[in-house]
């Protein structure tokens, strides 16, 4: 997870999404694949869809959105979750 590269994502509303009690079902039109997302991934996709960002920038915006303090641990978790989203093809780096 390169620290300074910027991550991109399509705008979140471009995806048909169905909310269930525990997860969100997201249909990714570009790949034709369906993903089941647990929090905080939907929030991360919403933020990146609004504006590409580095891990650091995204961590700051995500902590603000969830109303939690930002720390090194949050940064590491966001980095790891970005790897998962990248492997699924939902985010990419320029």
């Amino acid at each position: 997870m390169a620290q300074n590269s910027r991550y991109h994502a399509e705008s979140y509303v471009a995806h048909p999404v169905v909310t269930t009690a525990d997860m969100r079902l997201l249909f990714h039109r570009a790949s034709g694949e369906t993903h089941l997302l647990a929090d905080p991934l939907p929030d991360m996709l919403i933020l990146l869809g609004e504006q590409p960002d580095t891990i650091q920038g995204l961590t700051t915006r995500l902590c603000a959105r969830l109303g939690v303090a930002q720390d090194e641990e949050a940064h590491a978790v966001v980095g790891h979750r970005l790897d998962e989203l990248e492997a699924a093809g939902l985010v990419w780096r320029d």
Partner: protein
């Protein structure tokens, strides 16, 4: 239904299906599926007034074609994401090129594996990136690996471990053992950008490659589909200025004059494609053999004319490699 001619007629002249008997519809659908042209037939018959069950069968083919196109575009995008950071711009070939470039030849077309062409000096870098990116060799036994690298126009096929999709990385468009030697650097030089980090061959080279793939590199299996590609491409591109002189010139550059001429005669005869007869040349007696091979399908969708097919099978191997090597190749394959 004796052969695949009714399918050729339905594609060429959709009105020809207006008074087909129910039983002939059943045979036509089986032949179209066997020749992998059901999607193209669905596009051509979209406006016709058809029996309900035929409409539903063609609608199913449209759903499949739409899914194929999403898969094809996504494979191209994932490959672009792997190669772009290395400054490699893949030149898309065949089905993926038609679909991503939005050509008529792509409409309703089933797209199989992803084929890309790269300059020879970028092959190793691309191969390393693909292997790191989750691809594995489809066949990694030493004979196959050595054979491809030494004699073939492409790397051994790679399959993505997770997605199960296959990619063929070419450095030219004919096996090195074949007699004609297409000008690979010229193919790369004339390639056309279609999107950031993606290209296709030039219009003329695209047709030369399609003719090469149909006539000079195979046993004509799936020939009706490849010929339909050529019909669509020629009708699309021949509207451009000096298309025919450019095609004649590129056929010469790639030592493909005869296969291109043959292909133009065949598509003119079967799909009534308007062609420049100076480039297509005079009808040959042997053209009828190619037509017979192309139409070798019965009303049940089964292949027919076993002898003709065997002749083309032997011809395809003989073209790809000199006799001595052919014997050794078949001997090793028989034992493995």
């Amino acid at each position: 239904m004796r052969d695949a001619l009714p399918l050729v007629r339905a594609l060429t002249d959709p009105a020809s299906v207006d008074h087909i008997m129910p039983d002939d519809w059943t045979a036509l659908l089986s032949i179209a599926r066997a020749e992998r042209l059901i999607g193209s037939l669905a596009v051509r018959l979209k406006e016709r007034d058809l029996p309900v069950s035929v409409m539903e069968a063609l609608e199913a083919a449209r759903v499949q074609a739409a899914f194929d196109h999403v898969q094809a575009r996504w494979e191209v995008e994932l490959t672009r994401r792997l190669l772009a950071p290395l400054g490699i711009r893949p030149i898309l070939l065949k089905g993926s090129a038609f679909v991503v470039a939005g050509l008529a030849a792509g409409e309703g077309r089933m797209v199989g594996d992803l084929d890309i062409l790269l300059p020879a000096d970028q092959l190793n870098k691309a191969e390393a990136a693909l292997l790191v990116g989750g691809y594995e060799w489809a066949k990694d036994d030493p004979y196959t690996q050595a054979y491809y690298r030494r004699w073939m126009h492409e790397l051994p096929p790679l399959i993505h471990a997770e997605r199960g999709t296959m990619i063929d990385v070419h450095h030219t468009i004919l096996p090195l053992t074949a007699r004609p030697t297409p000008d690979a650097p010229a193919l790369v030089a004339d390639a056309v950008d279609i999107a950031p980090g993606l290209a296709t061959l030039s219009p003329a080279d695209m047709i030369v490659h399609a003719a090469c793939h149909l006539i000079a590199d195979g046993d004509m299996a799936g020939g009706l589909r490849n010929l339909w590609d050529i019909d669509r491409l020629v009708r699309d591109f021949s509207r451009q200025a000096n298309f025919w002189p450019m095609l004649a010139e590129r056929s010469g550059v790639h030592q493909m004059r005869e296969p291109v001429a043959r292909t133009l005669r065949l598509t003119h005869q079967l799909y009534e494609t308007p062609v420049d007869h100076a480039v297509a040349g005079h009808t040959r007696a042997s053209d009828a053999l190619f037509v017979r091979r192309l139409l070798s399908r019965d009303g049940w969708g089964r292949q027919t004319n076993r002898a003709t097919r065997l002749a083309f099978y032997i011809r395809s191997h003989w073209m790809r490699m000199p006799p001595l090597m052919l014997a050794r190749h078949l001997w090793i394959k028989a034992r493995s």
